[in-house]
Amino acid sequence: MQSNSIQSYDQGRFNTLPDDILLSILERVDMRTVLRTSVLSTRWKHLPLLLSDVDLDVDEFIHQNSSMSAHEAMAVLIKLMSSLFGSPQNESIIKKLNLSFYLLTDLETSLKFLFNIGELVCNAIDSGKVKSVELTITTEKRRFKLTDLMSGASNIWIEYEGKELRTALNKITKLLLHGIYVKFNLLWTLVLLESAPSVKIFGVKVWNHACDEGTENRKQLSERRNDLWDAAQLDGSIHYLQLERLEFGGFNQIIREHLDFIRAVIERAPNLKSVILEDRDPCEDCEAMDNPIYPSISMFPQNNDEKSTIVKQLKAGMNRPVEIIFC
């Protein structure tokens, strides 16, 4: 009896912790757990709305509930965003919003999700609720899907959705596109960049695994091409005025298109300060195969001679001080 009352007294002390400490605790757990705490009691109900650093990652939802489809996870993400941003009585400010989501194979749904997200983010920024956004569109897990979407529907994106896309991406300051299949033309990613005029940091990561050769995914991929794109098709009048940093993962010095792509960005970004080139992510399975797509030797510039050749090629005919960094 006595020990019971001491116990509950001790436990009750937890509720005496001030909000800022409880928020520090919530910042150390994932968003799903945060949401679970919001149904604990009246006091806890409003705490998630006070978080200043919000990390929303669709991957995390799926990871915790494997029966959830990517489609369902996207719907949960959007619902979460609207409850986090939408509460009118809540005046707290989200200093940093990390948003990470998939683009789905189903084009129509994917665009719908993207516009929903874009609208929520834009409104939240316009109202001052959110100060900074980092956006990662990942195709790592279902890696052919982004290219699927793009190659199948390039016209729709540009002609019909261009304006809406711009509204959706208007306030994004950091845009990362990971998991782009190596054989696809990269220039289409510039359409996204054109639609996101506030981007300061733009990153692409090329995927060139060979270890799934012969699988169904790979068959689908090789049937699709997107030759529709070349630099001449891009709108020459558009410049990425805010862009300061370009990150290129999976750089391969013998692929002409990588160089062309980087040059195209440099030319259109008058305020660009640095270009970060990174080698591909190591993959043991691929290295064992020694496939032309993924040769066992890295095609990343190794010595100073190779590096200075790349720098010369990238900066030829240009007098702006852009720093090329090899990682």
Binding site: Q7, S8, Y9, D10, Q11, G12, R13, F14, N15, T16, L17, P18, D20, I21, S24, I25, L26, R28, V29, D30, R32, T33, L35, R36, T37, V39, L40, S41, T42, W44, K45, A75, V76, K79, L80, S83
Partner: protein, 173 residues
């Protein structure tokens, strides 16, 4: 570094250098004095800024928000992190081991854990605050709301309307 304004201060400075570090007195809300090395006290950003501002080092620092039991435990942490080196792999491993044992002991006494967390927050001892909040976060992770309520003695006081909203959320999440 503040420079001494007189001969006495200069002498005191010289003496500090000789002894390696000055000693600082921290007083709990029960009036109990704890003498610690400056290196230990500097683990607290609050005390560090007061010392650097040339504050009342001699008079010591009264801490009206911290009781003796909590302060003693906090000082235990600060001594370990302030007085010991953490350059080599072994030294860092020893420190990590200390942290692990330190937090395991606190975890067994939740009320005390909250007191130490409050003190770490008040004194701005970053490492200790990270350690205790992480420990509480780990307790919450993977638990159902009901389990969390039981673990932390949280009283369920949501209205019927709140419950409706939650039910709706549950079907989605």
């Amino acid at each position: 570094m503040a420079t001494g304004s007189g001969a006495a201060a200069a002498a005191a400075d010289a003496e500090e250098k000789e002894s390696g570090s000055r000693m600082i007195t921290l007083t709990s809300n029960e009036g109990k004095a704890f003498v610690v090395t400056e290196a230990s006290a500097r683990q607290s950003a609050t005390i560090r800024s007061m010392v650097d501002d040339g504050g009342c080092v001699d008079k010591g620092f009264p801490l009206p928000n911290v009781d003796s039991k909590t302060l003693a435990r906090v000082i235990q942490y600060c001594d370990e992190h302030g007085n010991k080196e953490a350059h080599t792999v072994d030294e860092r491993a020893a420190l990590a081991k200390f942290d692990k044992d330190f937090i395991a002991e606190l975890d067994a006494d939740k009320a005390f854990l909250y007191d130490v967390t409050m003190a770490a927050n008040y004194l701005h001892i970053q490492g200790l605050f990270a350690l205790t909040t992480q420990c509480i976060a780990d307790t919450i992770k993977g638990k159902t709301p009901e389990e969390i309520r039981t673990a932390f003695g949280i009283e369920y006081d949501l209205t019927a309307q709140d419950e409706e909203e939650i039910k709706e959320e549950d079907t989605h999440a």
